[in-house]
Symmetry: C2
Subunit: 223 residues, 2 copies
């Protein structure tokens, strides 16, 4: 069935990476991978726009079904291939509650990360303010400290406890992006420990963006 799966993705996009990880976790590595270049505006091409009116990546097609929202695509794959590959959802509703709590909170982390990283891209030159940049960085720091606290209190090594779950699939790319951009491991030791463990996982290691394999940047070193 894997040959009927098409993923349009772009290098450096954490939402795209989520779907790539989920596909590997579910043993679906034989999908059609269409790597597009954001810098050439290929995400706004007619081919993508026909499948995704938002003109965004990931754009994801499963047989005749189009599921472009990255979290929805991951949840669909877990549902459809429940007994194939690694199980990414705990069975009890109580454990699911924790997973969903973290998963949705992870979207806030991703958003606060984006507000720092993409500030100059999102905000036109005449509207930029140093005070806004400072505030965004402070908000990101507080958010990361919250997650550092969560990991310190967690009963298992993963985002939602003892097993790798959809919460990790959704959130790990943001954590990895932060460290790639120079987040200080000494200031966030629990997140660093989590990052160093999960990055060796086959589904993650295999799909790591090639551009992120060079030296770390320093955008977030003072966070």
């Amino acid at each position: 069935m894997a040959q009927e799966i098409v993923l349009y993705w772009g290098e450096g996009s954490t939402p795209c990476w989520r779907v790539m990880i989920a596909l590997e976790e579910k043993g679906l590595s034989n999908y059609t991978s269409k790597r597009l270049a954001f810098e050439k505006m290929e995400h706004k091409s007619a081919e993508v726009m026909a499948l995704n009116p938002r003109g965004q990546l990931p754009t994801f097609k499963f047989e005749e079904k189009i599921i472009n929202e990255s979290c929805a695509a991951c949840m669909f794959l877990e549902c459809k291939f429940k007994d194939q590959g690694n199980q990414l959802t705990p069975t009890s509703c109580d454990e699911k509650a924790k997973m969903f709590q973290r998963l949705f909170e992870g979207l806030t982390l991703g958003q606060k990360l984006g507000e720092v990283i993409y500030y100059d891209w999102k905000v036109p030159e005449g509207e930029r303010h140093e005070s806004a940049k400072t505030r965004n960085r402070e908000a990101l720091r507080a958010e990361l400290q919250l997650w550092e606290g969560y990991m310190a209190k967690e009963t298992g090594p993963y985002i939602a406890g003892k097993t790798f779950s959809l919460a990790d699939v959704i959130i790990f790319p943001s954590i990895a992006y932060a460290f790639y951009l120079g987040l200080c491991p000494k200031r966030f030791p629990k997140l660093a420990q989590y990052h160093d463990m999960v990055k060796e996982r086959p589904s993650i290691n295999k799909t790591w963006f090639s551009a992120w394999k060079d030296n770390n940047k320093d955008t977030l070193k003072d966070i």
Copy 2:
């Protein structure tokens, strides 16, 4: 079991409303309802902060379990009370895919709505720009047009098709907020039709914010 459920909520908060709707849908109307006042900063009170380090509403407690993210709380209730009240999740993975696609896209709608409505509250006076306000309003218009298109193509009257689902629980409050703030029904006829039908649903009607029962505002009339 309903007496072991506590919801801290605030008037006018669409995330709070989601949880109130889900509780009614699952036949759990006998929960402990703690209405707090945002204007008195009660969401930052010690009582809330002890349960929710973000100091946000909803803050939701189910027995000893704390689930503060509104979508996660709704998904947990649906899981825990699968066979009680109304079923809010379709059974097939294909239908679930559509529901999750819309549910997560709904968060984008909520975000774009917030960027228009709360601009002056979010952005300090010295950083405000008319150009940003215009851009935010245009982004909201485009987003609402996308949803108008979705509803026009939909095979059923609800957000994700033939049955009322978690997608409606998550998204309806944003649609209702937009119309309360003066969104023009003639410009968005399919969304208006959806709004007028769903607002009569018992779970929605019963939980409608009392402040929203007066005349409509005109904040969004030109969108």
